[in-house]
Symmetry: D2
């Protein structure tokens, strides 16, 4: 079978490197180019020694225009603000773009600029961009050339809450998402905030009421329920490498029961390959999804308070970034949706 | 200065051992007896080698009646159900009891029996028992012979939320406490749930809507606001040894501002030695309280949702158990309230 | 392509589970039976939730005789003493056995019984058994029906030292192997020794001068240099899940240089797929091999002391157990040696 | 009792901060000045929030000459090369200096300059400097004004090996010290090497055959045995915050027995307050010394190899730095040697 050619721009961040790992095992993909501003000129395996004897590619500087002539798909793993200034309609005429960054996720230029505090230079592409959550936008993803791959907190939050909103089962003014993330979510840049001795044996919240994944979650939940949703989103940093757990609290609407909730999830996800609804009373744990593209979802109900409590667990670098990007690639190129990402998680690791 | 004599019953659990450490440095205390069912006959330092060359006491079987003739204070660090069956009015006539367990915390026998699923055998002592949260019951603690030392989640939750309820600033039907605890909170007993390879690099919730600290928190918040409070309490297990962080969400009542909130906390705690209100925008982190008796409290407000978000951080074995027990002892014997527990936390550790 | 049928006996320990993960992705293998004494009757995915939606097999009790009629290969992941009492010449006439336990590794019944303190009941099979280190016994492995898969410390120690002994470059009375292992090496059974709060943030040695992997290492190094080798082997427990690092110290023989050492390693391993000799000055780190079947080897020389210092790093559950078992299976069935185990490690995880 | 006045220069590194913690609890000390180049002008508690409500001191720039007029003792916690250029005979006429850095530890300017690769500017003070290991130089420490506090690896190595050399029990050409350290040993500066996700779940060696603590250990062991000692020293980085474990290997000389070894240790340390010789068969673990000034020493002998294996465990920031500095201060000012550092370690933490 002929393989498509792929490039990863920004391959030496954690999401980029995880993407390289998955793509290098993907039977339909030839990995042609890896770029890195920090390490250009070096071999990828000198930056990530786990690829020693596995992958032998030199890192080049990124030039999206040139790459678009050479490959069938370009993955972008870049800080926000760059993709929207580099990708053009012309690029999209020549190659597909799967952007792991934030630039094309929000449909509103205004909202983007408010939360990200930079001008959005690619407004003319926002219509073409499809929000890359396959469980919701599978058909649209198949047809587009520009996929805006969701953030890690976002994927976990939206997928774990979507059926409640889609089916109008909860009060929309009561949504609280308390999220906990491993440290890889903070990236590979060095700072006191990710120093081992400052992070190990510690838990803290950050960006309460101001995290940039908030509007992304609100956009998608609003789309689902067809009215404005405002959420409370609180991220915490946990002393572990990988994994996100979200614990969400919502008031069940009068007239509905916990059974309605469970049925809504079952209906929504019964055919999904990467969504696992846990049995009654089983709590999602990040260890069971680590190294895999699965999201585990647990549903709970408290009769005393009337709250539905929903938990989602994902591997932030896989279903929260690179695995989902490959799932999107599979869809948009017509490959088997699970190709390259079908394995069980690895445990204990 | 003459010293009081003390006994620790159940000294070889983690809370018991931490209590021994604090008491062995306390200038007003002579540690006379340590008991342990699992290790009786052995020396305490053979169970906890950190006490090698520091403390030389043989572990005896517990017999509260006999001990009550010998010492001025008995600390109980026992599983629930035992203290209420062993302590009597006669005991309390001879010695003071500081119970780190659950038996005398709930004022209602019915509520206790519902959540703990055992018969309460010491109902006649519930009136004498004082809930051992010095910041709220300081005067009562000074006068009693039976102190019911609060649980770890409870201390952190109540202290971090009390001013909101005391001052009637929030909607009482909206209280969500999302708590995260280190693994020492689960005790020293072995099980797959505390196996290193199952716990490390993982986060999970447990006992959603059913944790036994729930009614304790509700009791005290109800007392504060003088109307029935029902809370949503969710504990999580975090891969670290010590520390609890609670993140609580409450709707601010119409007519109040975030400034009202901050003032209420300032007024409540301005003279407290062990409560630290953090500056605006500073997040509590468990690392800053580890090894100390402090609670750090951070206050946040989200204009978009109208939620007050409150975080509390404590060392679960100190302010959440043994340090607070010593604080109570100091009060009830008329020592300086901070004696033995006045040090800064130890960091990084 | 037709697939061979495989059974894993003892599939619910950590090595067994990792083996199931690798085999379930192996294109030449149909996983037919999984056994477990502790969990028989349950589904494998109820014991290891990472296999939810991936693998649907019920755990049965082990009966090697029956299994031998049904499958082409049986992997044994059992405590020592069992395999040697259950496997017979008749079994080996019907199926291949790859034993991840200790019973067939030592060629001397006497040595086995001295170190393991049990009678060896399968002495008549010791001749047929091949020590399953493909880098040394590749041709023998291809021909046998009974493969004794080496231990984790052993694999790392022997492979990292073999060229020094094979080429007679070092003084044999000076061998010190200081080994460090993650906690999965201790297995899944619960005990205070693997309690999170007792293991986390701690390092300790164990079984100094008495660890059972010692005679296995000595046997193979003795074979290499053709004279008796006695080693000093010290294992340590490190607060991490996976990985072994060995740091070995040996006196270079007079007349040889560090270049001779480097050449010996290059010659020995230049065609090996799973041995990575690191560049000068690069230290092996367990993070780079985690999740892979590689061993990374670093060579150092101290002019001041005349010592060669060799470090090896492996994933104890893969190259130190299950990955190597699959490598052996590939060889003995004529599959591509790297099939199912060719991927890069996963990082950071 | 009157208190001495103390200054800590370089108070915002981990050793400096731990020193501040100990001194702030020391009954004979008034902490007058804290200096910091990175944080001058800020309050110490803004850098280390564990000191919130405990200590209220503004950080000033360091000026050793000025400080020497104000205080009785100056602790220096600085990178190497600074102390030797700033301290003068005049300084030492006015105050005592306890230097936690490397500048005055090595008696030979040549050796210092070879290993540290900078010129030594304070050669005229090397005679006055006393190597601050109280268990060996107690009397000299009492009399000097310049104490060169040993390094962390050094303290653990020397104290755990000293009796073997002092009593000439081992072959001096066979000394191997395999050391394992927590990450605080690497300091608070940020780099990829201490990034949480690069350090967690990983072990590696560093500076094989080239670590700067090597000559310090050799100097003291040479002094003990009165002939030149060359050692093999290998440090490893372990994923935990605090603690050092050294595992040392030495050949017992012909004619001596393991009993001779045990007696030598007993004789050397029987009156030492901070040295704990563990019972036969007990392994030192860093968790038992964490938070304390103790060194735990375990002795082992392998009849098969003739090796004595000695393990030492310390808290690298206490007995390996700040606790020992206070022990030295106590001695040189005539306080009780254990004042301020007499507590048991804190566990589990």
């Amino acid at each position: 079978m002929e393989k498509i050619k792929a490039a990863v721009v920004g391959s030496t961040g954690y999401a980029g490197e995880e993407l390289v790992r998955i793509l290098s095992n993907h039977k339909n993909v030839e990995l042609k180019f890896l770029t890195s501003r920090s390490y250009k000129g070096q071999n990828f395996q000198d930056v990530y020694s786990n690829f020693n004897k596995v992958l032998d590619i030199n890192l080049i500087e990124d030039d999206i225009e040139t790459l678009s002539n050479e490959v069938d798909v370009i993955f972008l793993a870049l800080p926000h603000g760059i993709a929207s200034s580099k990708v053009t309609k012309e690029t999209l005429g020549k190659t597909k773009i799967i952007d792991l960054g934030a630039d094309f996720r929000l449909k509103s230029k205004t909202v983007y600029e408010k939360w990200y505090n930079v001008e959005h230079l690619g407004e003319n592409l926002l219509d073409e961009a499809v929000y890359g959550l396959p469980e919701i936008y599978r058909e649209e993803i198949k047809k587009t050339n520009l996929i805006a791959n969701p953030g890690c907190y976002t994927t976990c939050s939206i997928l774990s809450l979507y059926p409640l909103f889609k089916n109008n089962l909860i009060e929309t003014n009561s949504v609280i998402i308390d999220a906990k993330s491993g440290v890889t979510g903070a990236g590979r840049s060095v700072s006191l905030g990710v120093h081992f001795s400052e992070t190990n044996e510690n838990i803290k919240a950050y960006k309460i009421a101001s995290h940039r994944h908030t509007p992304e979650i609100e956009q998608e939940l609003t789309n689902a329920i067809k009215k404005d949703v405002v959420i409370q989103f609180t991220p915490h940093l946990i002393p572990m490498n990988r994994g996100i757990l979200t614990t969400s609290y919502l008031k069940l609407k009068d007239g509905f029961t916990f059974n309605d909730v469970k049925e809504a999830y079952f209906e929504q996800y019964k055919n999904e390959k990467f969504v696992r609804l846990l049995k009654d009373g089983i709590y999602p744990e990040t260890k069971w999804v680590k190294g895999s593209n699965y999201i585990d979802i647990g549903l709970f109900f408290d009769r005393r308070t009337g709250n539905v409590i929903v938990q989602g667990a994902i591997d932030n670098l896989i279903k929260g970034a690179s695995g989902q990007a490959v799932q999107n690639m599979n869809l948009t190129f017509g490959f088997d949706e699970i190709e390259g990402i079908k394995t069980a998680g690895i445990f204990p690791v």
